[in-house]
């Protein structure tokens, strides 16, 4: 093989696009040619540096919102109207009570919709290459990575000693908003911990639901709502939630 050929083909070698026969030919050439060997080494080094430094960009939250706003919204008006019609026909129910009940019905609707979105986000994250935007088992790397990407950076706590390994963080998208996801692993199970801001600072105790075979444990504390999603069993997910909450309350 000549240098001219190798100059082109060594890229295909780096990119894993060559069949075994051609790969061997390029490797044989490179073994005898210092110039092509230097090129191969530098190009590999460049690829690695770019992959590790991350030369991509994060889309601004405002762009996400503009696109979201331009798409047809999920139709919830149907169910809302159906509820209202139901109350209008029930003459025994006063208008005031109806309003209160509607609010409760809608809030539950909301929770259900968001839980579905959280499960979708969890499923998406399990597709190849989507689990983490920042890979690190070090909370001091993951935490600052979120800064500037979100209005509120999620708390990142290392629970490795408690049996839940921190593996990284990711920007996700739930309820038409950018949201932080902290990713943990227990054995072969992935736990996505989604964290969003809430208007109320009161603490709400954890509740667990099962949706599409996934367990979701949600709780609120100090103005943040947490959604832990996993295919882990309920008791293990509860264990995770409790350890996370107690670590949050621990000083320092």
């Amino acid at each position: 093989m000549t240098c001219d050929e190798a100059e082109i083909l060594l890229h295909a070698l780096i990119d894993g696009e060559l069949d075994a026969g051609h790969a061997r030919e390029v490797e044989n050439h490179v073994a005898d040619c210092p110039r092509c060997a230097a090129a191969l080494r530098d190009y590999r080094e460049m690829s690695k540096a770019i992959a590790e430094a991350g030369a991509g960009y994060t889309a601004p939250a405002a762009l996400r919102q503009r696109i979201e706003a331009a798409l047809p919204q999920p139709r919830q008006t149907t169910s809302r109207r159906a509820v209202l019609r139901g109350f209008a026909m029930g003459s025994a129910v006063s208008a005031l009570a109806a309003t209160g009940l509607v609010a409760i019905v809608l809030r539950n609707d909301d929770v259900e919709r968001i839980q579905l979105e959280v499960v979708s986000a969890h499923l998406r994250s399990l597709q190849a290459g989507h689990l983490t935007d920042v890979i690190s088992t070090d909370q001091h790397t993951v935490k600052p990575w979120f800064n500037g990407k979100l209005d509120v950076a999620p708390p990142v706590i290392d629970l490795t000693a408690q049996g839940f390994t921190l593996i990284g963080g990711r920007l996700d998208y739930v309820d038409a908003r950018a949201i932080g996801a902290v990713v943990y692993r227990r054995r072969q199970h992935v736990i996505n911990l989604f964290v969003s801001q809430t208007s109320s600072t009161e603490r709400r105790a954890a509740k667990t639901d099962t949706i599409q075979g996934f367990n979701i444990r949600r709780w609120s504390d100090r103005g943040l709502t947490y959604w832990a999603v996993s295919d882990l069993a309920k008791d293990e997910l509860a264990d995770f939630g409790e350890k996370f909450e107690s670590a949050m309350r621990a000083p320092g």
Binding site: P34, M46, I50, L63, I67, P72, R124, Y173
Partner: protein, 186 residues
């Protein structure tokens, strides 16, 4: 042109969101490199998603990411045309003949040249953004977006052989720029 929000099938919108929005950062990244302007990139990405949604009914493949990239590329081409019409400087900064020029003759003079340093993300972005089209596009699709040669060929609408020669040239250019940057910072 606004899309009709009231009559559209919300189920279609939901499927589109789930399929296409996870790639928003990837599409935005490509737009930033193709247009080299944050504002123009935002506009192009928004237009890309609206077009993609309009054509989502007929979408049968390829994979979602290259499909979105192909749409974005068409949007960007319209932007290139607009820029060319409003300014005297051309966007396509390399003539066709440059693709046939020999590779990295620069390293003939310094055969032992070797990369010594690593750069932070901002410097890397600047070096990549300085690559001339169409090499920049090919390079970004491969090195940052991890597309296969075949996918790049489909997005860029060129044969796989052209993808290979463009990529070889892009990497050689980046290597020179990298070494020059090292020289400068010494």
């Amino acid at each position: 042109m606004p899309i009709n929000a009231s009559d559209e099938d919300p189920e279609k919108a939901r499927r589109f969101r789930e399929a296409a929005l996870p790639y928003l950062n990837d599409v935005y990244t490509l737009a930033r490199y193709l247009l080299r302007s944050a504002d123009d990139a935002e506009d192009a990405v928004q237009e890309c998603y609206l077009r993609a949604f309009r054509h989502f009914d007929g979408y049968r493949g390829p994979a979602m990411k290259p499909w979105l990239f192909a749409i974005l590329r068409n949007v960007c081409r319209a932007e290139y045309a607009r820029r060319a019409a409003t300014s005297t400087s051309a966007i396509e900064d390399v003539p066709e003949s440059a693709e046939q020029a020999p590779l990295w003759h620069e390293s003939e003079e310094t055969p032992e040249a070797q990369l010594q340093r690593r750069w932070d993300a901002d410097t890397l972005r600047r070096l990549v953004a300085a690559l001339a089209e169409p090499f920049r596009e090919t390079f970004v699709l491969r090195e940052i977006q991890n597309l296969s040669y075949r996918e790049i060929a489909e997005v860029a609408e060129v044969p796989v052989g052209t993808v290979m020669s463009r990529l070889a040239r892009a990497r050689a250019m980046l290597r020179s720029a990298w070494l020059a940057e090292e020289e400068q910072q010494r």
